[in-house]
């Protein structure tokens, strides 16, 4: 190949690349009424409902292409802090050291309710095995090693338990689901609290790791005798056995959309590092319930992006709540949703506050209660 031809080709390609860049960057700022492209990253737990929301929202605002990468709650907070994404998503509320690392004031918006379930795949065991915090803590520490252990038998009189060895599965990535589950275990077992603790990623005493909710579900379904923790929606669609968890009042609650939404009343604003809806005292509320948060910066600088983001969150807190049950999530209680909308109202772009576009407010009555 002649050197001059190589040079000519190189120049042509560079020119083409430059032209492409120029054209596409122009189009990305021209948003207007149709919305613009956004990038978000974070929690895997709400990923299915978020993807559905992004799809539905694009019908309302065709230009709003929201690219969400479910890399885990830890990643969501990390990328949000580094400002490499337009919004973050986390299943755990921001902790104080994470807050102090942020470059500016932030807004934390709960979007949907869900639960963490203990899921298992044991030949001979149907769904509905009764477990409490202490027993779960021992299982996940590896102290209870077979399914017919007396501790499990005590909680399940009359159930025939196989002697299959227990294989624990946990998350290998940082995740809010882990945070919720370990927070609950810490609240139920002093032993767990001191030996392991609660965080988005912990030093698991035993078990194999799965990547994401999906990885854990896959790992549990591959091995007989496995047990792990999953978000409710993943557990339901994966057809694994789901445990009934003992509530504060001694009754055993089966996770369901209703029992999870009963726990939602406990959510208070403003969201603090300790905010949680675990161990709800409401009758019939599922003990390991949780919410998930979107993270935004209060002071935005890009008009088009801020408008699209504002519109999307408004839409999600109103119209969007109507579709969550189809995917096995629970909607926010209506008073919580309106408090969330108030929190969203603090968002400004270049000093100006935002109002929702007509496409979002006009004609959509938004069923938001649960």
């Amino acid at each position: 190949m002649r050197a001059s031809r190589v040079r000519a080709v190189t120049i042509a390609v560079v020119a083409a690349a430059l032209v492409t860049t120029a054209c596409s960057s122009k189009s990305s700022t021209s948003g207007g009424a149709g919305g613009v492209a956004l990038t978000g990253a974070g929690a895997t737990f709400p990923d299915p409902i978020y993807e559905q929301w992004f799809d539905d929202f694009q019908q309302v605002m065709p230009g709003a292409k929201i690219n969400y990468q479910a890399i885990g709650s830890g990643g969501g907070v990390e990328q949000f802090t580094a400002q490499t994404v337009d919004f973050g998503a986390s299943d755990a509320p921001l902790q104080s050291d994470e807050i102090s690392a942020l470059p500016g004031p932030y807004i934390e918006i709960p979007t949907v309710l869900g639960g963490v379930v203990i899921a298992y795949n044991v030949a001979g065991l149907k769904s509905g095995l009764k477990l409490d915090g202490e027993t779960a803590s021992k299982i996940f520490q590896g102290e209870i090693t077979t399914w017919d252990d007396p501790a499990i038998a005590k909680l399940n009189p009359g159930v025939s338990l196989p002697s299959t060895p227990i294989s624990v599965v946990h998350r290998s990535d940082e995740s809010g689901t882990t945070f919720v589950f370990t927070s609950w275990l810490s609240s139920q077992s002093k032993d767990w609290e001191s030996k392991v603790g609660a965080d988005k990623a912990v030093n698991w005493p035993t078990g194999t790791g799965g990547d994401g909710n999906d990885g854990v579900a896959a790992a549990i379904s591959q091995t007989d005798g496995s047990v792990g923790y999953l978000s409710y929606d993943f557990a339901v669609t994966s057809k694994l056995g789901i445990a009934d968890i003992k509530a504060q009042d001694g009754s055993y609650i089966t996770p369901s959309i209703e029992s999870i939404s009963k726990a939602g009343g406990g959510l208070t604003f403003p969201i603090s590092p300790d905010t949680n809806i675990l161990n709800s005292t409401t009758k019939g509320a599922y003990p390991i319930s949780s919410t998930t948060y979107l993270l935004l910066y209060e002071q935005a600088t890009d008009q088009a992006k801020a408008q699209t983001l504002f519109d999307f969150v408004t839409w999600a807190l109103t119209t969007g709540q109507g579709t969550v049950q189809k995917l096995n999530y629970s909607p926010l209680p209506s008073d919580i949703a309106s408090q969330a909308l108030d929190a969203l109202g603090k968002m400004t772009v270049n000093g100006q506050s935002l109002t929702a576009s007509s496409a979002v407010t006009g004609g959509s009555t938004g069923s938001s209660s649960g």
Binding site: M1, R2, V13, T21, A37, T84
Partner: protein
């Protein structure tokens, strides 16, 4: 082994050992061919059912009906990322090779070669981590550009080493003749030697591109991925290996199938380039011999 011993007809334990040796060699061949066969078989079998018009032209559909969508944004993204990487790495690699082959005889050249060897053997995830700290954080953005730069870290040494080889094969008389005719050194190199090595350089480039096409780890940390087509090199972009990786880890069988489809296309592209490179290099060697 005494002379008398060797000159006897081959019998007994010597024969058995020899037969065992030959058998072992054939076993190795069989294992290698069988392994390749099994891999190729599964990739084709599982991948081909994913290939459809949708696969090549649409963006991903909802997780409930993955077959209605495709991964067009991954193909475009790979093209952009590898394109950027090539634009940067090929000239750099070529000029490095020129230095090594034409000018460098001493310790500096040796150090450059060693550096190339190290960069080639460092796991590509390290390049990804490096570019993340330097580019992604600085720009505040995951981007195709960052992905491209991470690939440059790998492609540059490949182009440099492979091109150096080819340049060294160009007969010295060509250089001497050109210089004798009065051409300055740099023109000799760029107008005579490089074109003479033309096909070989193309080979080196094809090998580097083939390698870059299949890289996942560096892009994992720098380009983030995208469910939509993105042509802006400064924004998050998808890539075929990245899409395969994330689809494979979901519990949705439809997405697994898409992953296999992506793997099949990727494998074909990489093989075409690699085999093409080999064919070209054989022809080049014949030409210069």
């Amino acid at each position: 082994m005494s002379a008398a011993g060797i000159l006897q007809p081959v019998r007994g334990s010597r024969r058995i050992k020899d037969l065992a040796y030959r058998g072992a060699l054939w076993c190795c061949v069989a294992i290698a061919m069988a392994t390749l066969g099994v891999i190729a078989f599964y990739v084709v079998k599982r991948g081909i059912s994913a290939l459809s018009v949708n696969f090549f032209t649409k963006e991903p559909a909802s997780q409930l009906h993955p077959e209605q969508g495709g991964i067009v944004q991954s193909f475009i993204g790979t093209g952009i990322i590898v394109g950027i990487a090539s634009l940067i790495a090929i000239p750099l690699g070529l000029l490095t090779a020129v230095y090594l082959a034409e000018y460098g005889k001493g310790r500096l050249a040796s150090a450059i070669r060693l550096t190339a060897q190290v960069l080639l053997s460092v796991p590509s995830i390290v390049a990804g981590a490096f570019i993340w700290t330097v580019v992604v954080v600085a720009f505040g953005n995951f981007s195709a550009f960052a992905g491209g730069l991470a690939l440059v870290v790998l492609m540059w040494p490949i182009v440099a080493r492979a091109t150096e080889e080819v340049l060294l094969l160009v007969p010295q008389d060509l250089r001497e003749g050109s210089l004798a005719l009065g051409l300055p050194r740099w023109k000799t190199i760029m107008r005579v030697v490089v074109p003479a090595a033309g096909a070989g350089i193309l080979t080196a480039v094809m090998l580097a591109v083939a390698r870059a096409l299949g890289e996942t780890a560096p892009i994992l940390l720098t380009a983030l991925g995208n469910d939509f087509i993105n042509t802006d090199p400064l924004k998050p972009t998808d890539a075929v290996p990245l899409r395969i990786f994330s689809d494979a880890r979901t519990p949705v069988p439809g997405l697994h199938q898409i992953a296999w489809g992506g793997a099949l296309v990727l494998l074909l592209a990489v093989l075409l380039l690699s085999i093409g490179a080999r064919v070209l290099s054989v022809r080049q060697q014949k030409r210069l011999a």
